[in-house]
Symmetry: C2
Subunit: 242 residues, 2 copies
């Protein structure tokens, strides 16, 4: 597959994206080699044991030394390798628990959440709305390569998600909630469940969610308005999977 | 106090710093008015109820509309107010529990940790080494103003910290640990304690810490190398304060 690599832009016409950095590129090659169609590395990259080259050889992926392309595709310094990969259509697994993010807006947060999801073993992530782009190289970079360990399905509206997954055990995280996380039993025996979190600034819309599942709060002092979103998600993941 | 405000630089010669943004500036004015010596706001700032102006009036702090200074001091867009404040010498409270960060390197992480500390009520933070600058406006911005709710004391070396606080209950967070956080009792009855975390990339140095306190791990799958630092700190805070 020959490809002229362009700077990533969000949108349907862009059917591929990039793993920026050696470590995300290795995660890509190890976990999704069938999606990777080109690897670029920097002449100054010290590839211990020729890991990237060997993986590219194994899966017959074109692999080229080219600092110029790296400078174009990765505005940050310290990027020694880039893996270009086709986006794939993913769906969350109906037999597994999900993290649901309603309109997240920050790609760094989204990547950090993917990392925690991969770490705590809830790898199915539903993203509602058209906010932070799960495929943006910034998201993938913030995930430290965990992007290639999770399944991300996008839904235009939470109602579309609930139409399919509305019957399972559902927990909605909001400040004005019925349950305190620290008093909830962990998820033993619950079966599959969904943990739903709102936007960084606005949270979940109470009117939309008031009849959806159990509302849960992670209690904190009034010295802060709210917890950082990836932190709230990760504390919930820790609690439910411990 | 008349002051020509300059772009912030790390170092002892810089004895002041900035709260960038309206919400951190309000936190500064509410919690540390005695440290604030000047407030700048943008002509396009819509100050509901004149909150900032009223606080400046109350504490007799000079307050000036000046977009040019904002553009110089805050390279990011969407900064509508800046509070300039003198650094103060702080010490952690010996009668309270501490979060100890050994050589954190990222200011965004440091700010996010401050936010969680303020949220979970452990407001005394010891920073070891000369890594991320606690006073950098980026740290303060990432803290969402929680900077003005915490006490930060810097130590050159962990040994200096342990000389003073080595007798209390101490938990060192590392992958190769004796205890699993989820199996530890929460902190009821422990008295004051210190939670110690290492650098983002290198963690805690086992040789330095092998005889210090109890080592604790937050278990995660092998799909990730480690949890993001603020996430590890926040999960521990949640667990110990729940």
């Amino acid at each position: 597959m020959e490809h002229k690599l362009k700077t990533y832009k969000k949108g349907e016409e862009f059917d591929y994206s990039y793993a920026l950095g050696a470590s995300p590129t290795i995660e890509l090659l190890k976990n999704r080699p069938e999606d990777c169609f080109q690897v670029i590395f920097s002449p100054s990259y010290d590839d211990k044991d020729d890991k990237i080259k060997k993986l590219c050889g194994k899966y017959k992926i074109p692999c080229e030394e080219n600092q110029k392309i790296i400078n174009i595709l990765s505005p940050k310094e310290n990027c020694y390798a880039i893996g270009a990969f086709k986006k794939r259509s993913q769906t969350v697994d109906k037999n597994k628990s999900h993290v649901v993010l309603d309109n997240p807006s920050d790609m760094g947060n989204l990547g950090t959440i993917m990392r925690s999801c991969a770490g705590f073993g809830i790898q199915d992530i539903a993203i509602i709305g058209n906010g932070a782009d799960a495929y943006n190289p910034k998201t993938i970079r913030a995930s430290m390569g965990a992007f290639f360990h999770v399944n991300v399905e996008c839904f235009a509206d939470i109602r579309d998600y609930l139409k399919v997954y509305g019957e399972r055990e559902t927990y909605t995280f909001m400040l004005n909630a019925e349950y305190n996380l620290a008093e909830l039993q962990s998820a033993d025996g619950v079966g599959v469940y969904s943990l739903i979190f709102g936007n960084e600034a606005s949270g979940l819309n109470y009117d939309v969610y008031k009849n959806v599942g159990k509302s849960v709060v992670i209690k904190h002092s009034s010295n802060i308005d709210s917890l950082n979103l990836p932190i709230a998600v990760s504390i919930a993941l820790f609690w439910f999977t411990k």
